[in-house]
């Protein structure tokens, strides 16, 4: 393989984006995109887990017996997920309360397994690490964008700061003014926004291939 390291890093960011193109890791993308801050934490956690688990899966790729490689991958992935979980509980307790089970569920995030299975077990550790990191970041910027849209329209805030002025809002005296979009905090909203993103990504990718 003579692919430059840069290609390993750039490829999963857009052309092979795990959410937009491979449609992997959707379940957690629905759950953790209610607010930007939560999405950002999740993005960092997933990038960390994918990068390091890809690195170690690649490191032991030559001695891994083929019939137990998935179990081995899963053991490595869950180890890193638990590291993240323990770390959050110790240093970012409030955030770990918000994320609750979703950190643990990174283990079942198809994206992490997908990178280990389709890339890390076939390439040397450094490219595997770059690929995993970029896959996590590609996932990250998508969920942060979804989170931004949902937070702005669902709560009128961005990163916890109120950006839609409070005097815009409906009050008992002025009931016909602005109200938050009630669908946005719910999971279906993430479905619609994500669907829109995938549609746009498809249009751009199609144009490019001509």
């Amino acid at each position: 393989m003579t692919k430059p390291y840069k290609a390993y890093f750039l490829d999963p960011l857009w052309r092979n984006n795990q959410i937009l193109v491979a449609i992997l890791g959707i379940c957690s993308a629905l759950a953790v995109t209610v607010k930007v801050q939560v999405a950002l934490t999740m993005a960092i956690a997933v990038s960390f887990v994918t990068a390091f688990s890809s690195f170690f899966v690649s490191l032991i790729r030559k001695i891994t017996p083929d019939n137990v490689r998935m179990i081995a991958q899963l053991a490595i992935i869950s180890m890193f997920v638990i590291i993240v979980d323990q770390f959050l509980k110790a240093f970012f307790f409030e955030m770990s309360k918000v994320l609750s089970v979703f950190v643990g569920l990174i283990i079942t995030n198809c994206l992490v397994m997908g990178r280990a299975e389709s890339m890390a077990k076939n390439v040397p550790p450094i490219p595997a690490f770059l690929d995993g990191l970029a896959a996590g970041m590609g996932y990250g910027y998508v969920i942060i964008s979804v989170g931004a849209i949902r937070e702005i329209f669902g709560f009128g805030s961005f990163f916890g700061f109120q950006i839609i002025p409070t005097f815009f809002y409906a009050t008992p005296q002025n009931p016909s003014a602005y109200v938050n979009f009630g669908l946005m905090p719910l999971a279906p909203a993430a479905f619609f926004i994500l669907g829109g993103f995938i549609w746009i990504a498809n249009i751009i990718n199609q144009k490019r291939s001509f």
Partner: protein, 318 residues
Amino acid sequence: MFVFIGGKSVSSSEQKPPTVEKSHNSRTLIFIIVICSSCALILAILASVLKPKQEEAKELDRSKQLMISASLLSPEGYFLVQKDNKYVPAVFSEKEQILIPSPSIVKAKSNEILKVYQIRIRPFLTDNEGNTYTFQEKGIDLAKYLEKNKKDGFADLPLKLVYAILPNNSPQNISGSTTPIGYVIPINGMGLWDAIYGYLAIESNGDTVIGTTWYEQSETAGLGANISFPSWQKEFKNKVIFHKGATGTTDFARAPIGIVVVKGKVSEVYGSSPKADSAVDGITGATLTGMGVTNAYRDVLEKYRPFLLKVHQENISP
């Protein structure tokens, strides 16, 4: 290259003679044992290293939530102090060991929070007749008592937990016993999905609510989980836990107790009835969580009624 579990194309070992198969199996076994035990070892070390830090974070969070319900701390993380019947931002004075009003908003540090908690919050016990005891009097270790009962709550115990909110005095000035300015009662109940835990702070008249918090819940995100939001919790301020009768007077011995989370808006459900003073607006889409919250307040506070009655009587006839 791709071998799928359950697929037909399994590794080449199938065709090999049995002797090779055996060595292959033991190699696999050794590999898995090494991988799993090294992962387990790393995690065990990490968990034991981070354990004290995690306990500390949890403890700090619980203290914070209690202080928020007692209006010693704002949900944004700065201290509050009562001035002309209003809560204003404050800072902790290291020298005098009290909270002093501050014109600017300064976020409280965690060691300050724990210190103010130590000074201003005092846990004690009450029995089914409303008598109060300190932990020393009963010879109970606070940490063990909390650890043992935190899951099932304190309301059903013969000796129930109450926290007293002490006035904003310097500890050196406290001579003998001081009259608390309020009490915090730990509340627990069932939400829609799982157990919910919170605090309810009540003024020294045993009736008016200072504030409430729900610090542990796993309700639906965006709907029921909003019970942990300060924007909803602030609705509870100045409500009364003993329901007023139709004439607007309260029969403390017999009146229903608790705070009702109504479905919709209080103004629409109760209008100008005195019952509105013990009710708060529900959260849209979280009716069942609201019912869980209502039941939790009612069931827990009913058990504390003797204590609350005693507090109330002492307050009106000192």
